[in-house]
């Protein structure tokens, strides 16, 4: 008996590798951390990334900007504007956030062009080297509290290596934020969760479900489906919801 017991003790048990759960409380903890100065937050659309970036520990001013392929670096850094007979310098959101030690939220980072990427290189540097020299010859150093959160749907692999390397933390979230989910009624929340795993072209984002809920109060379920999803998709979704709620 004792021999068997010792054999059992000596044999290591085979267990699955420990998972790395990336849930929303953890994400918020990282965002609040003073060590996380540059964060890349990515995941599927409509799960609350931008909301958290704006509102999580809102103890500092937030400067938000959404970049596109056509966004010029001047829009982020700042630009001259004519005022009367002279030109006046206006800070862009990057410069302003660095000056006051605010939080800079850049949405859809992978969508912007290389010009913006290059501008962000010195901004995302370590605190000791981060600085930005403006066309006014003024050099800006980030004030204490300066933080950059970039949100996107695409993985960080879509970014150039030099930029990717400058993030202190890369956070991937897959689940919708619990606070956002609580806004849905019980029945729509159940429907949302059932369709969460379907292929992308059938997926319905949280925003659409919230719209459906708002419209439903005024137009009823049928009208809400029509208003939010159009005649074809709306009718198919209506059929499925009604049938799902029917008795077995």
């Amino acid at each position: 008996m004792s021999t068997t017991a010792s054999k059992q003790r000596s044999r290591p048990s085979i267990e699955p590798p420990s998972a790395f759960p990336m849930d929303w409380p953890f994400v918020e903890r990282v965002i609040r951390s003073p060590h996380a100065r540059t964060i890349y937050l990515w995941g599927p659309p409509g799960i609350g990334k931008t909301h958290v970036a704006y509102h999580c520990s809102a103890d500092r001013p937030v400067f938000a900007v959404t970049v596109t392929e056509d966004t010029a670096s001047q829009e982020l850094r700042g630009h001259w504007l004519p005022k009367g007979r002279e030109m006046v310098w206006h800070d862009g959101p990057v410069t302003a956030a660095m000056r006051v030690g605010g939080r800079l939220v850049i949405n859809e980072l992978t969508h912007c062009g290389p010009e913006v990427h290059t501008l962000l290189h010195p901004v995302l540097e370590q605190i000791s080297t981060a600085r930005l020299t403006l066309p006014t010859n003024e050099t800006i150093r980030p004030a204490p509290g300066f933080q950059v959160i970039c949100t996107d749907n695409a993985p960080p692999e879509d970014l150039p290596l030099a930029l990717r390397d400058r993030f202190d933390s890369i956070l991937e979230v897959r689940e919708p934020h619990p606070a956002a989910l609580e806004l849905l009624s019980e029945r729509l929340r159940r429907a949302f969760q059932r369709l969460w795993n379907v292929e992308p072209d059938r997926q319905i984002g949280l925003r659409a479900w919230l719209s459906l809920q708002r419209f439903e109060r005024e137009l009823g379920l049928k009208g809400a489906c029509l208003a939010v999803f159009g005649p074809h998709r709306g009718s198919l979704l209506y059929d499925a919801i009604v049938l799902g709620e029917a008795q077995n």
Partner: protein
């Protein structure tokens, strides 16, 4: 080969099923697939839903959702009679259930005409068993009348036989539903009704001298009242019978990238203007001071060079001719890169046929094979090219052996999403998109907005 189709015609069976399941349904489009036994099928075991992804097919989708909601996962193995009789009664149970929950299976006028035509063909057969089953399966739909109207002019005995059995099934299903106080009768009752119907039909048809078997084989199982093909409705198909769909492990063929000789210059490319900077009143560094007294637009915003990449799927019926390339080059001011791809068996080729305002001659536009094979590596190549990225294709993607799989489709869709690839169907559409981009970004003076 499964085709990518507009997502807004895809139903949501996950919402209708009784218990939540982490594995989503695979929605398969049955449009243009005449080899399938019918245009609407459900496999609860394999979690597949076969429906036409068309605007007119809502009734088919509704009926299939009813299978997801109320049908058992598997049909009983030992029945003692033809399984198609059970399927017909099950269809009737579901249609009556849908009627009860306010989602009637409502066929369009043309579908009803088609069902009526099939019913008349049954009687002309004479396949009375098929006709009766069709009428039973149509219970609860608006096709019931179209089927029964086929009896006009038939013998009184035949009319009596059909009406009696159809009415009997309806009354028993409705009573069963009422007894349960639920939208549908139980499946046990369906089995009982089917067994008794089989016995009675055997006796009655023999007495009238009609054949006792159905005209179609068991593979095309069912009665399919409300189905376009009118001869089948297979709930729970045999495993492995998935048409040309490959498994999840399907891989793409090996792709080689070749550069065709480009001897033909595009005249339109020479004529077109190059992209220029745009004067604006906002900016960092003033560059054009001479505009200050005019409109104060002393800054220059860099213009984006026009161009883009067009990838053309030349498999199957798709093709690209020299005029098509000229059209693309013209729309992009000669700056676009054009490539074609196709394959055969295990390998494919991506051929660059236009760049820098020059194109290949017609002889270099002949595809390497008639299959897709290398959609995935070709799309991966396109992701690395200059934007805008256009993919002229019917949307079907295949790998080795010209077969497809949901995993391959998912990977290609992901590439398109991440690489911001826009799929278009024709060269004209691609040219329009390139041209529109040109129009949007043409240099325009900006008014001063001095503050």
């Amino acid at each position: 080969m499964a085709r990518t189709v507009p997502a807004h015609f895809k139903p949501f069976p996950e919402l209708a099923e009784r218990r939540s399941n982490a594995k989503p349904f695979w929605i398969v489009d049955t449009t243009g697939k005449p080899w399938l036994p019918t245009n609407g099928m459900t496999s609860l075991v394999h979690r597949k839903l076969f429906v036409p992804l068309q605007p007119w097919a809502r009734s088919v989708a509704r009926h299939e959702l009813a299978h997801v909601k109320w049908s058992p996962k598997r049909l009983p193995k030992k029945l003692g009679h033809d399984a198609r009789i059970l399927m017909a009664v099950e269809d009737a149970r579901l249609n009556l259930g849908m009627l009860a929950v306010g989602l009637p299976v409502f066929l369009s006028e043309s579908e009803r005409v088609q069902v009526g035509r099939l019913a008349r063909e049954d009687l002309r057969g004479p396949d009375v068993l098929a006709f009766v089953l069709r009428a039973v399966a149509a219970l609860g739909t608006n096709a019931e009348r179209a089927i029964l109207e086929a009896l006009i002019g038939e013998s009184e005995a035949l009319r009596d036989l059909t009406y009696r059995h159809v009415r009997n099934v309806r009354v028993r299903l409705l009573r069963g539903r009422r007894a349960r106080k639920k939208p549908v009768a139980s499946f046990q009752l369906v089995r009982r009704i089917a067994r008794e119907l089989a016995e009675e039909l055997q006796r009655d048809l023999a007495a009238l001298g009609y054949p006792l078997s159905l005209p179609w084989p068991m593979d095309l199982a069912g009665a399919g009242c409300c189905l376009g093909g009118g001869h089948a409705h297979a709930a729970g198909r045999k495993a492995g019978h998935t048409g040309t769909d490959g498994g999840a492990e399907l891989v793409s063929g090996a792709m080689t990238v070749v550069q065709a000789p480009l001897p033909v210059p595009c005249a339109a490319a020479r004529r077109s203007r190059r992209a220029r900077g745009r004067a604006t009143s906002e900016g960092s560094l003033p560059r054009v001071f001479h505009r200050w007294p005019v409109d104060q637009a002393v800054f220059v915003r860099r213009g984006r060079q026009r161009g883009g990449t067009v990838l053309v799927d030349t498999s199957g019926s798709m093709a690209l001719d020299a005029a098509g390339i000229d059209r693309i080059l013209e729309a992009s001011s000669g700056a676009a890169i054009v490539a074609i791809y196709s394959g055969h068996e295990r390998e494919g080729e991506l051929r660059l046929v236009a760049r820098d305002g020059k194109r290949a001659d017609a002889a270099a536009l002949v595809p390497k094979g008639r299959g897709n094979i290398v959609d995935e590596p070709a799309l991966a190549w396109l992701v690395r090219q200059q934007e805008p990225r256009l993919w002229i294709s019917d949307g079907g993607v295949t790998g080795i052996g010209d077969v497809t799989s949901p995993e391959l489709q998912r990977r290609c869709a992901e590439l398109c999403r991440r690489g911001r690839i826009t799929r278009v169907r024709t060269v004209e559409e691609a040219a329009q998109r390139l041209g529109r981009r040109h129009f949007q970004r043409s240099p325009t003076p900006t008014k001063s907005t001095g503050t």
